[in-house]
Chain length 161, copies 6
């Protein structure tokens, strides 16, 4: 079978941690669809267009990766796209509990979709978009955490404020 | 690509939790090799032959599953079999930390092997081989935790003692 | 002694997880008072009247359960009602730490009140009001998570928005 | 109803943490049976007689507490004694996961028995029998951790070795 | 060498837990600079002036403690002050994960700064500024959690609201 | 003041994780005494002489580090040596709980000794002596985990078996 996976997230913004995960996913899956969530529980720093464009730019060197956006439940999106695997990263305990809840909820909502977890490289295990936004707001140099153009975008956002 | 995965473990003994995981894995992978570890850190209750035979019997109704045994490092076994994905279950926080350590160690030992994690059905999330052996040693009825023939094998073991 | 317990919470909204806990509590206590918190740290989705009414409707088939609302500290409410036991559910690690802090703080504030914890059925262990509101906002079918009338109330809330 | 509870454990040996829990339990239950496990997974330091005797001596000033020993599953013991509540302490995350597994397993084995959890006083939250044996083996002064006669018993044990 | 440390935080408001940590730090370091963060991710209850003044008043009886405020990254502040050690408290698992992320991020931003952790007295291990504000908003008596003048300041804040 | 610290452990065997910690400690303390525990709860792989000698060889290029062995309680050893700071590494949650228990126990045993924690480099955060022995027993190549001569010692040990 040709196995495809969806990698959903808010990507606010995309980090080297996300890119590491996509690269690992490509060893397992034939195609990966990075799915940018339109509606988020917390107000994002970047608009959905900005988040989508940054993901597109960051993954353009990968052959078998496409970028999409989705609104509503990720399992319904997966069913519509006829992709039965959701791929997620696991970094820390706090991730684990949230992911555990989500996986079991999604399973109850759509029994045919399976979620798998990958662990990032240890050098990215402590990077989160939240931490990066916090550091950026304080003027940190984010080389080594995010691609150059994401760094620029973060700087602009926090200058405006 | 035809994607195969190895599901390594001690399977001392195999439980409904393991079988649930194999079933989920078959939605993602074309073939799964259940690999029974010969050498274990702690003395197992069942010999490697017993553990292997119980796994074989438990998975014989699955089409795309084979059973094997391995000695030494699982990543070396994976490389020898030319299978680049290891599949593991994640039930609890304590699992998570151990798996995290193992995944990063394995990655350092063999960069080409990727480990993925699946979450069991919530009804099996609290079952472990250790707990089952503990309950069996106290005379518990294990229907709903392990296949019938494993239940019998456990009863025999604890009668002998 | 006739033992009574208070089951305090925000119930925003009440879920099958809460109802499972109340049923378990009734095996231990003669009477349970479900106490709906008026003031919450985070803005609730439902008003205190709505939350109170949904709890009342959800527990009306239980004989020994009453519903009340309270403002301020739960330990002061307990002292006023002359009920010395607070009952809480424990689902996950993150619950545990928060509950641990609250229990020790409450004990310091009111030494005569004891808090006890019950674990929900594994099928409800991953359900939280927060998750349910998130899923409802994305249009999920919540059958199996909350009573029918709570489902309707959630749908109305998110239509209005 | 007259509510009774069983407080099962290995009590190898009993500590101030256990005694604190029993005192808290007496605020909630009419009677508590401290049930000393005969068979343990790990070899105990003290024989079951020694453990039983130390518990008896430690709780003799409590009116509504009885001490017993049990072999096999705690839920079967509870059913035989017609006591439907098991009481346990929760100190730390690692406790939590083990207790979670046990509670769900026990519930599957005996649906009519409920387990409740109490949190010890913060001054005892870090005390465990394991830690105390470790400290005793290194010659620590255990005043403030265990009753005087337990201290003496520990000293004797480690002198003999 | 004369070893100095920075103890950074939001101190919104300072608690007995913070003061316990400072006292412990003084056993290790010659001088401690308590550094009050000007910019916070979440809106503080108290202004930076109020937070700074409360810290000053709370530590005035300590000889080798100075109070300062900083804006931006704590590692840049440390470099500017030529102090190479940051001191933090660790109370709970949730602290641990956040601190772990921060420590590794700070290390990447400034390799010459080291972060060390101290554990508070068990009687303060469950106290956090967040919990205290929550309790204060509900009218709790905070004696034993914060200095008297902080208690007064909290009361005033919540009366105004 | 000239600040000294004790870094106690079993060092069975010493790893790059321990060495990373010692290097970080030297930025904070004037002198570090690496204290090898003679008596361990679990049987060590290496004798105390072997463990001591490996530590000595591993730290000989550090100027301000001495190696010693101790029997009994680390706090009594610290008091005898007139060193009031104990230094430990914190890698994971499971470490955290154990260290928390030990720190509070040690504090009760010896109020004048303070324990501080450092976090290892992320590249060593998942390395433990236990994991390394497990990997070595399975024939893993341990370059990057332990010094070359420790690797040789591990190989010899597992050949003998």
């Amino acid at each position: 079978m040709c196995q495809k996976a969806i990698y959903p997230g808010s990507f606010d913004p995309i980090t080297f941690g996300h890119l590491d995960l996509i690269e690992r996913g490509l060893k397992i899956f034939d195609e990966i669809t990075v799915a940018v969530a339109v509606s988020l529980q917390k107000d994002p720093l970047f608009t959905v267009e900005e988040r989508f464009n940054m993901v597109e730019q960051a993954v353009k060197h990968f052959d078998r990766v496409t970028v999409d956006r989705f609104d509503g439940l990720v399992v319904e999106y997966a069913q519509k796209k006829k992709i039965s695997v959701i791929m997620r990263g696991l970094r820390m305990i706090s991730d684990f509990e949230y992911e555990f809840q989500m996986a079991l909820t999604n399973r109850k909502l759509a029994d045919d979709i399976e979620t798998i977890y990958l662990m990032p490289s240890e050098q990215y295990s402590y990077i989160s978009s939240t931490l990066i936004k916090e550091a950026a707001s304080l003027g940190a140099d984010l080389k080594g955490f995010v691609p150059r153009f994401v760094e620029e975008a973060l700087k602009k956002k926090f200058k405006k404020k």
